[in-house]
Symmetry: C2
Subunit: 127 residues, 2 copies
Amino acid sequence: MTFASPLKGKEQDETAAFRPRFDSNGLIAAIAQDAETGDVLMLAWMNAEALQATIETGRATYWSRSRGELWRKGDTSGHIQEVVELYVDCDQDAILMKVRQTGAACHTGRKGCFYRRVDGQDKLTFQ
Amino acid sequence: MTFASPLKGKEQDETAAFRPRFDSNGLIAAIAQDAETGDVLMLAWMNAEALQATIETGRATYWSRSRGELWRKGDTSGHIQEVVELYVDCDQDAILMKVRQTGAACHTGRKGCFYRRVDGQDKLTFQ
């Protein structure tokens, strides 16, 4: 199973067909947002197989670039993400998932990955 | 001016120094989230120059991959993004900006880019 190919320009912006645009590595960026709080939890990557699995199972599934393997979130940690709704952006090269997060989204054990605020060119403040 | 280099593994997750990790094309993904509503508005890309400009000016500035040039959001459209807060994720390869959006974030004229919900493998529903 493959996805339909992207269209060009405005056609891609206005089509009612799902035509995800994967990059030259075959990946698309996926944002996970907490469906209840609206907090952005993490940004990770999907290949076509991961995207298809996410849609079919309702469980967020990514492609791990570091490990080079499919990564169904929570299979090891128990910290699963149930997909409540899934959106695609105008040119269909980014995915936004509203998820019900069990436990921590971040591998550091924190609820989300964006736990440091950038305060100037070289300083981070933990939140 | 350049940014400090990324550290490895846990050190990168826990450092209080800003050490953004750009990809092999010199880019980092940047999410813009409406500071008031929490809506995720768009995902775009920054190179080091764009990231630096964003921090220094408080105006979201991206790298346009299609045009191959720096793109200070709103310079043409008037639809500027004032950065209220800027965050970085655990391994520092993604940026989250909370922004005050003037007008439409999306080039289609819509408030945000994620205006279509994915309903199954090949169907989108406009919201």
